[in-house]
Amino acid sequence: MINHLPVLIIIVPLMGAILCPLISYYSPEWGKKTVIGALFASFVMSVMQLVNVAERGEPVHYWMGGWNPPYGIEFVIDGVNAVMIAMVAAIGAMTALFSSPFEEANPKHRFRSAGYYSILCFLAIGLLGMSSTGDAFNLYVFMEIVSLAGYGLIAIGEEKAPVAAFRYLLTGTIGACMYLMGVGFLYSATGTLNMADMAVRLQDVENMTVIIIAMACLVVGLGVKMALFPLHGWQPAAHSYAHHAADPMIAGIMIKIPAYAMFRFFFCIFDESLPMMGAVHKIVGVMAVCGILFGSLKALRYHKYNKILAYSSIGQVGYIALGFAIGNFYGIAGAVLHIVSHAFMKTGLFYTSAALKYKYHIEYTDDLGQVYRKMPVTSLTLVTLALSMVGLPPFAGFFSKWYLALGAIQNGQYFYVAVLVASSLLGAIYFFRIFEKLFMGEETEMEDRYPAAEHGGKELPLRIMIPLLMAAAMIIALGLGNSLVVDFIEKTVLEVFLA
């Protein structure tokens, strides 16, 4: 059992996802439960795997079909992606639970909830696969699963969603194709698709042009998927119009795992000693800096809660790219920590957004006046997560920023620190503006669609509350226990990536 964990983490939810339509045909309720159960099982297994990797102290390899790499497909679970997998599985399970009150709202269409859960589960599967795999082409396949699931979940959202989804489809396909081109160039130079093998064989490649072009393709391809600054066009609309309950997952982790993949390519496959690595780091750094400032400034302009969060994501993805651009241990540690912490922050914030929509149909921050009286738990979660986004201690956001700043100063890149500081302050402006509206705005009359009086004094259904509180708890736990995470990834990063 324990040595099958890497694949079981993916196969169990896969079984759930493909059987969900069949089960729902007889009982939609059980179809839903299947998916939620499968995702929770996957989460439990991912935690077991995390412990396992920690105990072994070296990467776990799993060979699909028993073919040893590079002939077959290999899963490699090391310190970094064990954390990623646990994160994705946790958010997947939480989001599945979170969605169930939203999907009850349409009882007419029997297939509706089945399809929704199936797609949601596939999104989780794709992300889990992307983080587990050690094969460049396999990553492409998983990326396509993620994208397709993303298109679906975005398209079934609000009225404007189909256009957003369609644009994402077009850009996303270009991105995926660029990624595929990049893999193609690398394949043409090395003749292999296995990442570890590719890294070894790339050292013998003398023709630098092909590596440069491959790198450019990969940056563009993964940049589109992670909404890195000049390639972010699809992101704000997609994140603000997506299906309310799935939005947390889309916004939270769909743009993080490509970032992780980028990290893999930059530090695992390409050798740090390559002559153009410095230039690549600079270019990524410029993109990151522009993204951070652009996202933060643009978020100031909007009053729609989701739009603010979406633009702030562009900035936060910039943080992650900045970590890669810094490129030393603390930079990478900061980036990885930020992937995890921002995933929980953004997921949590979108949970609050969805909860506000669920209870009061609130979309604009102007309507938030005095909502905290009616939804204290949601408001408290919002405050916690937003403070973490701003980067205030003792929440997780501060510590990822700490490592990024540490790395930047170690490299003497004071400019990056200035950008981090500026971005925190801009973030403070738009989040404290929300706080002001939430706590000090004028009360507006709204129809309560889940009146607490009728539900035993509960502010929201428990299935919404639990993920909300989990996200907040995770942020605090990650903040206070960040050195555990860093210690966990330290060995991997130092040995494998910066060797």
């Binding site: 397709l148 679906g152 398209a155 009225e159 404007k160 256009v163 270009i174 194709c177 595929l180 193609g184």
Partner: protein
């Protein structure tokens, strides 16, 4: 003359044509206002990429990668790996096209048009 052309094509020409095709696909996706055309251009781009991969596996004098009894040497078969990869990619592209069409029809229903300009120009009417 033809020899020179052949060598040029093998070293550069085919790749150039492939990239031109891909460039046209991407260009079409950006510049065409009609969503239907965008989808078709997307397919064109994907064909270009698939072809690019397939050319990587081509071998002079190689035959189809189906084992024939009297041929055993590796040089006599075309590299099967890109083919397998591209089978996957092609299926993915079909799936993407299907989803894109569904979205297209949904957009048509909501907005009454599938022209980029009209959709961005006017807000959705209730």
């Amino acid at each position: 003359m033809i020899d020179v052309l052949e060598i040029f094509l093998a070293e550069k020409g085919i790749y150039m044509l492939t990239f031109i095709l891909m460039g046209l696909g991407i260009f079409g996706m950006i510049v065409c206002g009609n969503y239907m055309k965008k989808i078709i251009c997307m397919n064109i781009m994907q064909v270009a990429i698939i072809f690019f991969f397939l050319t990587l596996g081509q071998k002079d004098g190689g035959t189809l990668p189906v084992l024939v009894h009297n041929l055993t040497s590796a040089e006599e078969y075309i590299n099967p790996l890109p083919h397998a990869l591209m089978l996957t990619a092609i299926v993915v592209s079909l799936g993407t096209t299907g989803v894109a069409l569904a979205l297209l029809m949904k957009i048509k229903e909501i907005y009454g048009t599938i022209e980029e300009e009209e959709i961005t120009g006017k807000r959705w009417k209730k």
